[in-house]
Subunit: 188 residues, 2 copies
């Protein structure tokens, strides 16, 4: 899907051309394995994922933790860095080739001053980011790794097909061998 | 501060009367100790705190954990419940007498359809909720209780003056005796 189509769907608008959007968008491709935003970088972009899968990670001491995956039709950005214009705590990595549409930070801020559509979009994205954060925190407190894997399977089956098993284990916070046991149990 | 004045400050608008707001507001007082929103309730209101202090708690097994305090000039709501219209995981309790201005959920949703000001406000509140959540999570991972207490002292000194010490300890995730030791160390 294109960002314009996504906005029409989300906001029930009827924008026929990209130049009716309250900001310009640039098409871009990231190669598989490419770093989209790195630790310490100040995020200047919001990306709409027209196609592909990305991983979000944080560094905690020596260890790198995978905290999120995003895919087609998701908005992707080192969001706290984008909002505060401070160095990023997260790294965004393309796990597949990614086709994205890019919104520039300065243009977005300008659009927020006067555009209803920009603010509706920004509000819904921010609400979604908050709810995702809350849900993940709650799931970590109340669900076992097996329950969280089953939930991932139910809610984002495409993700599991496209992501190496060791990365999914890392995301669930368990060893790859534990995830193999969970998967074997499911199949049998 | 009144909500209208807060919006003028936040959005650089110049609304002279409450009836220029894109939704109606109702004045209300909660007594000290009153439950504003309870576990399981579906949140129908967003509250602007004209004056007072509230506590957010969650139930985790037998235990009740304090996860947040809000005070004068903050927006307060069981936010996930408000957004999704699902039962609340949190309880909001008035720690002092609270003067609030209330926005009704249905009116807010209606205002979101057409009002720039409502969407700017909703966006900024959602972004703030996300950033607060991220910061608290990061602080818990990277800072000691002593560092977090010092930070609270720096960022919200008024809070510490108004909240019983055992509640602050609960919020920091430590025993009241440990907090007493931290405070003694600071004074000496």
């Amino acid at each position: 899907m294109k960002l314009r189509e996504f906005i029409n769907f989300l906001l029930n608008t009827d924008l026929a051309h990209d130049n009716e959007l309250p900001f310009s968008v640039k098409q871009h491709r990231f190669a598989k394995g490419e770093v989209i935003t790195d630790y310490g970088q100040i995020e200047q972009c919001a990306y709409f994922m027209s196609d592909g899968v990305v991983q979000f990670s944080v560094q905690h001491g020596e260890e790198e933790k995978i905290i999120d995956f995003f895919m087609t039709n998701d908005f992707v950005s080192s969001y706290a860095s984008f909002l505060l214009q401070k160095p990023s705590d997260v790294r965004i990595l393309a796990l597949t080739e990614c086709r994205v549409e890019i919104i520039d930070h300065a243009e977005m801020m300008e659009a927020y001053r006067t555009s209803l559509v920009a603010n509706q979009l920004g509000r819904i994205v921010a609400e979604g980011a908050y709810l995702t954060k809350m849900k993940r925190e709650k799931d970590f407190l109340t669900k076992t790794a097996e329950e969280r894997y089953n939930q991932l399977l139910r809610e984002k089956p495409e993700l599991i097909l496209q992501i190496p098993i060791n990365k999914i284990a890392k995301y669930l916070g368990i060893y790859p061998e534990s995830l193999s046991r969970i998967r074997k149990k499911l199949i049998s």
